[in-house]
Symmetry: C2
């Protein structure tokens, strides 16, 4: 008998039919004799509806320092409804079940409303309940602040709730049910050769999340890695009597047959900014990046090169497309302070990353990447690397072509 | 500076525009220097939407003994959303405000989910908060059970929440804002002569509620009477700068100029059942009424008369139209046990009541009623009385005619 935490996202609980399908998956684990806690998101669309109501109400007057406090009281009701309904459906099937709100567990958080961090989960009551055969249906995405108020964890927080709960109750496994049946070697919309990965390490999954693969929230993977919670991604749309095995995200050492490269991940939401002719003096780059950080603009892939004019340098960086306008605005504001000559921006770029823990011990991965792209006539604008990832920036028109070529070059299209 | 509890029902908070109108009423009291707690219902339609979701989920398996537990977790979110939104709107206007859920106050209830009774309200935290100038926006209709679960008080429970809270914080007044501007001498849809009553005693208001006047929940009036909370009914649709004074429901001794009759109240949702030829022996009537009570059928206005056959009696009673089919079914089930001959039922009846504390000290009120109806040729089928109420059962086609005649006969149409 194992303790299992299961998590179902908004599309998996979008209506009563879907909730009944979820109940069928849950009862399979209960019937197998496991102690089960289920973390649920709001029904698809509900969170947006509730956020819109809050926006219609308008923000608190700035002097009150109350931003997102009441927002959280309103928005958290989405998960509360789902948890009650799933508990009801399970009870209707004759299973003992109850809903747990964040404050009932209690799942304690910081007081940073709208983006609170989990500080502590008391596992006693809930752990005892599930070991006595009662299914715990937990409202995801929320907890209780030190002030006794409902605090939400921010978008995607239900994944984090599930992993934190799994760590707290020392669950044998945390199963994240979603609308895809696992993590793929690349985006299946780009190539039919994409294959589901059976096992992937936490580190690789983190790199994939950081470059835009949207299967799991980065924070939930970090938490799973820190507490060594085996995490499984699988589909809630598989028939309950023929479940898929999904993708297991686990410790590197639990993966027997390690690939050199595990995935090729494209990110099309990138943009570049080039700052021309910055005086080549200490402090100029710092002024640029401090002003961008103050404005909340995340930047990536920084390259500095000598300008044609002696004594001046050019600086390029990438940012998310959504942040580009703000980045340009911020830089124009510090133009005289920094003393640069001109700005140039480009939305027509894509970042292609190859990811694999095997890179640590195998040479030639980067060479294969550059050679493959060169053979296809694709120009590399920018390169960045981590211990287990190589990213290149290329023209976005070439992105799909590049992904297919790299997927083949690293042998990812071959069934194992 | 007074402590004031205000309560707004579902139509008063139906959308953000209405919630802003409510905020304008609330700020008027805050600007006057009062300590204010506001109890809110769910936005109109929300409670029904949530109940439908629960019904779609289906009831818990009977063996689980979990009826309405999860229902309450789901349905209570309606009020939670409104309290958060009203707090947000007040904060947007620059006022300090916060939402309070039942479990945060805490407002403690019994564990009878779906129809819980309030057992205790701790006033310390909330009372201190409002005295420090923070508006408390309280989710009505809900509290926390001894098991730490959310429990709802049943339909109309927000009125009860407001009165109980007013008693707990020793409020100087509890203002119930609704979609009518007070309590009327009779239904204004029946006669334009109906006048708003300035002051009415708790006892009269209770009699009016018991015969179907839907302005206030019976339980909330009982609670107000028990704790001597002055209760005011007024309209949330009056412009905030020209508020009406509504109707004050208070102790009899606080009403200086007492009317003999205060109101004429029609109830068209009545039906009669006549049981013919019951053997005139002890225990036969008891068998009838016990079986009806066991089936949850409320009965009223019982009349027993001798049958034409010696040794037999006829028994008539009224019930709510909605309960009639069940009543007939129950009685047919005990026909052989009771030994009656035939059943007869009639939906085409109305109960007309005249209500007034002045009856206690003035003779002739009943005589006026019977004479007035006789003059109009209206036949009385049945009569029942309390200390401050006389009800007659008549043909429902004559109901409006009777109400207008009685309203005039007791001088209720004369402006004072």
């Amino acid at each position: 008998m194992a303790r299992i935490v299961m998590k179902f996202g908004g599309t998996s609980v979008a209506n009563l039919d879907r909730i009944r399908a979820v109940a069928a998956i849950v009862r399979r684990e209960v019937d197998a004799g496991h102690s089960v806690a289920v973390v649920v998101s709001a029904m698809a669309g509900e969170t947006n509806r509730l956020i819109e109501l809050c926006e219609e109400a308008g923000p608190p007057a700035p002097a009150l320092d109350a931003r997102y406090v009441e927002h959280d009281a309103v928005v958290s009701t989405g998960e509360q409804v789902t948890s009650g309904l799933l508990a009801l459906v399970l009870q209707n099937l004759g299973y003992r079940a109850r809903s747990w709100q964040g404050w009932q567990i209690p799942l304690k958080t910081s007081s940073a409303h709208g983006r609170a961090r989990i500080s502590e989960i008391e596992d006693t009551m809930l752990g005892d309940a599930i070991d006595q055969g009662e299914v715990a249906v937990v409202s995801g995405f929320q907890g209780i602040s030190p002030q006794g108020r409902i605090a939400t964890l921010g978008r995607g927080g239900s994944d984090t709730s599930a992993v934190a709960l799994a760590a707290a109750v020392k669950a044998d496994r945390c199963d994240i049910y979603t609308d895809v049946d696992g993590v793929y070697t690349t985006d299946p919309r780009i190539t039919k050769q994409a294959r589901r990965i059976d096992r992937i390490s936490y580190e690789e999954m983190l790199e994939m999340a950081s470059v835009g693969a949207k299967v799991l929230q980065t924070r939930s993977v970090e938490l799973a890695m820190a507490y060594k919670v085996p995490l499984r991604v699988l589909s809630s749309f598989d028939p309950p009597d023929a479940p898929g095995s999904g993708t297991l995200i686990c410790d590197e050492e639990d993966i027997v047959e390690q690939n050199i490269v595990t995935a090729v991940t494209p990110d099309l939401n990138e943009a570049t900014v080039t700052v021309h002719a910055i005086p080549d003096e200490p402090g100029r780059a710092a002024a640029i990046f401090t002003s961008l950080a103050d404005a909340g603009v995340n930047i990536d892939m920084i390259v500095q090169s000598a300008s044609r004019e002696p004594g001046f340098a050019n600086l390029s960086f990438t940012t998310k497309e959504a942040d580009l306008d703000r980045a340009v605005e911020v830089l124009n504001g510090v133009k005289s302070e920094v003393g640069f000559n001109a700005l140039q921006s480009d939305r027509n770029v894509a970042k292609i990353s190859v990811i694999g823990v095997g890179m640590k011990s195998h040479a030639g991965v980067a060479a294969t990447m550059f050679q493959t792209l060169a053979n296809k006539g694709i120009n590399i604008q920018n390169i960045s690397t981590s211990e287990i990832k190589i990213s290149v920036l290329i023209d976005s028109d070439a992105a799909e072509y590049a992904v297919r070529a790299l997927h083949e070059a690293y042998g990812l299209d071959k069934a194992k």
